[in-house]
């Protein structure tokens, strides 16, 4: 199942500046694991040392907030994930 992961611009330096990464997975957690496998540096931006998603990282499935229990949420073929990273400049 092909899932598109849209990467917020803040995180793109960790994905070789790619805005979209495609993975094959059936849950959000699997999607992120595949992403980390391809781009290991992004792991410390998304997860704490216990493997828990940081509270300021938002996961959206087809534009809808996946909180809570984001990592367990199922995804299906052609779904799109958006990884939202907090920004605060003004």
């Amino acid at each position: 199942m092909s899932i598109k992961i849209n990467i917020a611009s803040y995180l793109q330096p960790y994905t070789n500046n790619l805005e979209v990464v495609e993975v094959n997975a059936s849950t959000v957690g699997e999607c992120l694991n595949h992403l980390v496998k391809q781009f290991p540096a992004i792991k410390e931006m998304l997860f704490d040392k216990n493997g828990k998603l940081f509270s300021y990282v938002g996961i959206y499935i087809n534009g809808e907030d996946a909180h809570p229990e984001e990592l367990a949420k199922p995804v299906k073929d052609r779904d799109e994930l958006y990884i939202l990273y907090i920004i605060g400049g003004g």
Binding site: E19, S55, D65, L84, I86, G88, G89
Partner: protein, 247 residues
């Protein structure tokens, strides 16, 4: 009542569908806080003053620095070293003498925020740091004051409107903080987002259109793309969770 001069000055917006003199009178009576007089605060305040919002209170504790001038368009070369609020108030007063500009040179903190926002109808989040944004969000929620969020990073921007007790708040979207950091930005990004914030303020006050509530607008200037993310109220939200079921 609008004066003859006001009728002429605001003629083009009074013509707009759903606006009319009644809408202009609502703007004239409105009191809006712009928290921050930097990249976002500059365009937001310029357009709200031009539109005829009756009272604008600008809060900022900074002085103008050379490195601000690529984006903080209310401050010019000759203002370097001046208080930002004085620099802003001077230009805004020249733009529209009919608007009352209150310049408050203060650092927003837990001790003074309730006093700073008391009696105001709306708060525009034009801060440059996350802790103060969250303090503003919490205060807006506690005092049931609509809060217009905006933030930028490089060529990316975000905006969302929060109606306390009715829609998701900033803390429902971001449940934690990252350490403060120097952020990259070019002036056109806060120009886009600050204008979106001003648009939301005008719509709310006049009572027209569909507000940017329960939706986080993500602006990607690099690809010239707007993405909308559906945000929902979090029953466990530290700031607004206790209001669920009350309204």
């Amino acid at each position: 009542m609008l004066t003859i001069e006001e009728q002429e000055r605001y003629d083009r917006q009074i013509m707009m569908r759903g606006f009319g003199e009644e809408g202009q009178e609502k703007l004239k009576r409105a009191k809006v806080i712009i928290a921050g007089s930097g990249g976002l605060g500059s365009p937001a305040s310029i357009y709200l003053v031009a539109a005829g919002v009756g009272t604008i209170r600008i809060i900022d504790h900074d002085r103008v620095e050379l490195s601000n001038l690529n984006r903080q368009v209310l401050h010019w070369d000759n203002d370097i070293g001046r208080n930002k609020v004085d620099s802003a108030a001077e230009k805004l007063s020249q733009l529209n003498r009919g608007v009352k500009i209150e310049a408050m040179e203060e650092t927003i903190n837990e001790a003074n925020i309730a006093r700073l926002v008391a009696g105001f109808d709306l708060i525009v989040d034009a801060m440059d740091n996350l802790p103060t944004r969250f303090l503003l969000n919490k205060t807006a929620v506690e005092n049931h004051i609509p809060f217009i969020h905006g933030a930028v990073y490089g060529l990316e921007g975000r905006a969302m409107t929060i109606i306390p007790g009715k829609t998701a708040c900033l803390r429902c979207v971001y449940r934690g903080l990252i350490p403060e950091e120097k952020f990259p930005v070019i002036g056109v990004t806060p120009a886009v987002i600050g204008c979106i914030q001003a648009t939301e303020v005008i719509k709310y006050i006049v009572g027209i259109g569909r507000l940017l509530t329960n939706r986080l607008l993500v602006y990607d200037g690099l690809n010239m793309k707007f993405t909308e993310l559906a945000v929902k109220r979090d029953p466990n939200c530290e700031h607004c969770g206790h209001l669920i079921g009350e309204e």
